[in-house]
Symmetry: C2
Subunit: 338 residues, 2 copies
């Protein structure tokens, strides 16, 4: 068998809820596109979900299956992409506790992503230790797979920096390069706003369109979608910037020329919200119908999904364990065969 020289991708999702259209545009679509040219690993990040959901492990567990269904429904092919459950990979916890000795508390507290998220979650000083340390856990995830490509949003660049810092520190301690440096792959489509115009689409805000949304739910979400509040009559000129319907058309309408023409018409006046929304509804219905159907079919066969997760997790367990063994050996730690 020829050696697989494709770049290794590690990415994944916290299992705190089913995925939605924002995930599709920002990451899922890309993952489907990258699964041939890259050796791709998808992590169902239940352990990371526990860092701020320790009070609700049942929710975290339930959503391992929900997110797995989303992956398979959008076209992630388990024959090409390895899907695995984070908390079932002991090497990740072992690497996390090892790396924790190579990072200072001050360094973690300086991490802008962590700073922002502590504020957003209102943790203050009562931040769980696991949450403060999640950049270390993420470094363990990335390095355990020896990933060199990590798809992220721009706000997550400091996490890649922290990972590479730990890898360099380990390599320096060991005396040669055991761990590769990872580079961020910034998503071509930025974060999709909620249907209400708020910056972030999120299930908890009730402004998201889940991938499993029924036709009426999609239609309803598009109908109440935020547009230009000053565009009262179709004849009036309207604003395209910040108008969610156009943001979504930019993300999902493949006829770019038509979108340009529509925007021009809307700005000029004479194009009503109803007409633009009808176009978007058609596009979203066409996009989501096959996903919804595949998802429903898969949900009727949980045994199949579990077999996929089991096979992926066992493969990932072997790979991450190999990296841990290599690091332990290079550091000269004690080892007994398992």
């Amino acid at each position: 068998m020829p050696v697989d020289t494709r770049p290794i991708i590690l990415t994944g999702d916290r299992t705190t809820g089913p995925l939605h259209l924002g995930h599709y545009a920002g990451s899922l679509k890309n993952r489907v596109a990258l699964q041939d040219s890259h050796r791709q690993f998808l992590l169902l990040a239940d352990a990371q979900a526990l860092t701020d959901h320790a009070h609700d492990p049942a929710k975290v567990r339930r959503n391992v299956l929900e997110v797995a269904l989303d992956y398979l429904a959008v076209g992630i092919d388990p024959a090409k992409t390895t899907i695995c459950v984070q908390s079932c990979l002991p090497a990740l916890a072992e690497l996390t506790t090892l790396y924790m000795n190579f990072v200072t508390v001050a360094r973690l507290e300086r991490n802008p992503t962590i700073k922002d998220e502590i504020q957003a979650r209102g943790f203050g000083r009562d931040i769980p230790v696991g949450f403060l340390c999640y950049p270390v856990a993420q470094a363990a995830d990335i390095t355990a797979f020896k990933a060199t490509v990590v798809p992220v949003g721009e706000d997550q660049l400091p996490l890649i920096e922290q990972t590479n810092e730990i890898a360099r520190r380990l390599n320096h301690q060991i005396g040669h390069d055991v761990l590769p440096q990872a580079r961020a792959l910034i998503a071509p489509v930025g974060r999709l706003p909620g249907v209400d115009g708020k910056a972030k689409m999120s299930k908890s805000q009730g402004n998201a369109i889940p991938l499993s949304a029924a036709p009426e739910a999609i239609r309803d979400a598009v109908r109440r979608m935020y547009t230009d509040p000053n565009h009262l009559r179709a004849a009036d000129p309207g604003t395209v910037e910040g108008n969610v319907v156009f943001t979504y058309l930019d993300a999902f309408d493949e006829d770019r020329e038509a979108v340009v023409a529509l925007k021009e018409h809307y700005r000029r006046g004479g194009l009503g919200d109803v007409a633009v929304k009808r176009r978007l509804d058609d596009i979203l219905q066409a996009l989501l119908a096959p996903i919804r159907e595949r998802r429903a079919a898969l949900a009727r066969d949980p045994g199949h999904v579990l077999r996929v997760l089991r096979a992926g997790t066992l493969e990932a367990r072997e790979r991450t364990q190999a990296t841990l063994d290599e690091i332990r050996h290079a550091l000269g730690l004690f080892t007994f065969d398992r």
Copy 2:
């Protein structure tokens, strides 16, 4: 086979150097005494040693064997006590990362033991994350073995408190008691001072008598031992308090009446340092000679020591993994058979 109802002890040592007379008086002697009445586990704490020795893993590894030799030499019987290597027990790292979600950063920073040790090591804000988190790792150690008795010095009581807090938090989350509460067993002999009179005997201070010390090294250490600096002539009255020779006689001379008489004579005047030191030297030579000989014999058979560590570690791995599985199952986390 009857069920073993003996209380479970977990204790151990950081593997940063061979053990010395202070360890013997403060803990090793007790462990030998307790290994029949208790189900005892001894942890060679190499992972914890890395929290402030990440720059020198070779030293940490080397001393796994040195401390194991010390254990066997003083009479720890591997048929009664399980000796195991901490970093070879993956369940401990997994429990550590899980527990980190149930403890806040503020709570760790309030821990008086951690506060003191941060100061003693001069870490300031540059404390390694692993060091800040070692009370969580220690809670993982203790609970993984379901230990109910933990021998500690008085300064370590806050660590037991933190462990019990985490156990209660987990039990509360789970809805029934999976983890027992542990109680501290305060050592009957307090911390032995260094031969120079400093509060702590420590290899790095050069004021310790290692368990493997040669007869001349013992004699030399006793000869330069700190006594009463004002007791210049044998005829003068002397002070017993803070006089290291008498502190050591208190710890090691089994003829309590003779020690009382000696102290009285020394206080009264007429008893020279040389005579008291000769008595202490005799006692220490008699105590350490068989330990040194057993240790040397064991060191000539490293294969035997490795077999002991391997058997103990595999047994401990099974036991700690069972606790982890029980907790994961009770929390309802995803599991695939290994």
